[in-house]
């Protein structure tokens, strides 16, 4: 029997995992993203029981447990329900690259929708980004059928405002 021998410095093993995933969008998202890509417009799913219009769309209302009965146009403009300016450097979950900071980030309630989506906002001065502000989507010229076909939302500024 002998005593254990420890190194002067702790030892480590490093590992790098690069895993590729391919997620099926499913029926609701496929319809929604096709409308987004081809018509540059938004549609939500409607609950016949409570009249909520869901974004993201879904087959069943989470509150009533009733099956949604169809599509309702919403937006394209909306209102900020919550907002921040992210200043801490962050790895983009899609590309794996560092996302440039600062950037505006918000919960947005599109006109006619009952639930918020979150998206980027074109304002990086936190003192000028407030709950209740109106926003308008900015679509990409090249669209692929992804929520990133909307590049971000622009603040709707009044005449004469900077």
């Amino acid at each position: 029997m002998s005593e254990p021998r420890f190194p002067d410095e702790p030892l480590f093993v490093t590992a790098e995992l690069t895993l590729r995933y391919r997620y099926g969008a499913g029926r609701e998202a496929t319809h929604y993203l096709r409308v987004l890509k081809e018509d540059m417009s938004f549609e939500g799913s409607h609950c016949p029981q409570c009249d909520r219009v869901y974004l993201p769309p879904r087959p069943v209302c989470g509150i009533c447990y009733a099956e949604c009965d169809g599509w309702v146009p919403v937006g394209p403009d909306g209102t900020i329900a919550g907002a921040t300016v992210v200043e801490v450097p962050f790895v983009d979950p899609i590309t794996g690259e560092q996302r440039p900071v600062p950037y505006g980030f918000a919960f947005i309630l599109l006109d006619g929708a009952s639930t918020n989506i979150f998206h980027f906002v074109d304002e990086t001065d936190r003192t000028r980004l407030k709950v209740g502000m109106r926003v308008r989507p900015r679509f990409r010229a090249e669209r692929t059928g992804s929520i990133t076909d909307v590049e971000g939302f622009d603040l709707i500024r009044e005449e004469g405002e900077a």
Partner: protein
């Protein structure tokens, strides 16, 4: 069904790095302390429940190589992997197994060695890959947006939020297990700390910790033999919200899952005035604004009154209802253990074993909560009095 109690707790001394141990060695420290606290050995344990987050350390099915660490060979070993709530889910899983009469004594363990992986990257995968992930900014971006909705609804000020940060890090100085201890912290320092995402500054957020927590949970009959003053689990509740982050328009001001568990727990316990009827609360507050919003949702103060609540002194360690006398999540956050630490700290208060941060000698009723994922809440009420007696 038998009454169920916590009869032993154990924690590591949580730190930003633990380079001297690997994951099993880290977890074992908490396990050994919990077994010693209850005065039992592995031979006395019928089953083991444990939890951590697979992707944080990039380890799937780690039960294989952790079984011997937990003394689980030849016994049932169940794993819970539910996010911020993992520690309360694991505790409640153990509670259900004892309550149902299947097992008499269970070891529950939660741990996280965050320094070994990429937690914020892993948290980003919590978002739905089609609808949410492309916009995700880890826990901080989402919490900042939620905090901004709470600020708009309640009018809580940055100074009031900073007072929560000061309370937590000063309380932590009384807790030998706490990670972030700042005895001289001031409101000004919090307000001067670097901005992460408005309104959240560095000192408004929980730290990244490495640590483990363990509990020994026992049925009526065993419990009285293992602890002079068991912490009886008098009520548990768990609730989810809808699927997506944006589904609750006022996600912090009106936390639907927290309101749902509050209603069930308070109805079961006959609680109508929690500030008077609870002796201590250990709640899962990932950031300062969340603590104030949670206090509102738990009816510790009136709606919109979170800021005035911290100003009143009620949640201070010597106040009428101390909130997180341990220093809370703001001082210690080894994610897979964090919610279990809330339960352990509530149990220690009831058992009279909280040492320097014991809020009073005779704690009769304590609340513990867990929070995570998409606005999901677990909560437990622990009592000194045996529920069915």
């Amino acid at each position: 069904m038998p009454d169920v109690a916590i009869v032993g707790t154990g924690q590591t001394d949580h730190k930003s790095r633990r380079e001297d141990v690997n994951i099993p060695e880290l977890a074992r420290e908490a396990v050994d302390r919990a077994l010693a606290d209850a005065g039992v050995t592995f031979a006395d344990i019928d089953a083991v429940c444990f939890g951590n987050m697979d992707l944080f350390e990039g380890l799937a099915e780690n039960e294989h190589w952790l079984a011997s660490t937990f003394g689980a060979a030849g016994k049932p070993l169940l794993k819970y992997n539910t996010g911020g709530t993992v520690g309360t889910s694991t505790t409640m899983g153990a509670y259900y197994l004892v309550k149902s009469g299947f097992y008499g004594r269970i070891l529950a363990v939660g741990f996280e060695k965050q320094a070994e992986g990429n937690s914020q990257g892993a948290i980003t995968t919590v978002g739905d890959p089609i609808w949410e992930r492309p916009m995700m900014a880890g826990a901080i971006g989402n919490h900042a947006v939620m905090a901004s909705t709470y600020v708009a609804d309640s009018g809580v000020t940055e100074e009031q939020a900073a007072r929560v940060a000061v309370k937590a890090r000063r309380n932590a100085c009384l807790n030998p297990h706490a990670h972030l201890k700042l005895p001289d912290i001031t409101v000004e320092q919090v307000l001067e700390s670097s901005m992460l995402a408005y309104p959240l500054r560095t000192l408004d957020m929980c730290p990244t910790s490495n640590g483990a927590c363990a509990l020994v949970i026992a049925a009526d009959g065993h419990a009285q033999k293992l602890a002079a003053r068991p912490a009886w689990i008098a009520a548990v509740a768990s609730a989810h919200d809808q699927s997506f982050q944006g589904d609750s328009p006022k996600r912090m001001s009106e936390m639907r899952s927290l309101i749902a568990v509050r209603e069930r727990l308070y109805a079961k316990m006959g609680i109508t005035d929690p500030v008077k009827q609870l002796d201590v609360a250990e709640i899962y507050e990932p950031q300062t604004y969340a603590e104030l919003a949670m206090c509102e949702n738990l009816l510790f103060c009136e709606k919109g009154g979170g800021g005035r609540f911290i100003d009143s002194g009620i949640p201070m360690i010597d106040g009428e209802l101390p909130v997180n006398p341990s220093g809370g999540v703001l001082s210690t956050n080894p994610i897979g253990a964090t919610a279990m630490i809330r339960v352990a700290e509530a149990a220690m208060q009831v058992m009279g074993r909280a040492g320097e941060h014991q809020v009073k000698p005779d704690v009769q009723t304590a609340l513990a909560t867990g929070y995570g994922g998409n606005a999901w809440t677990d909560a437990l009420i622990l009592t000194a009095r045996q529920p069915s007696r």
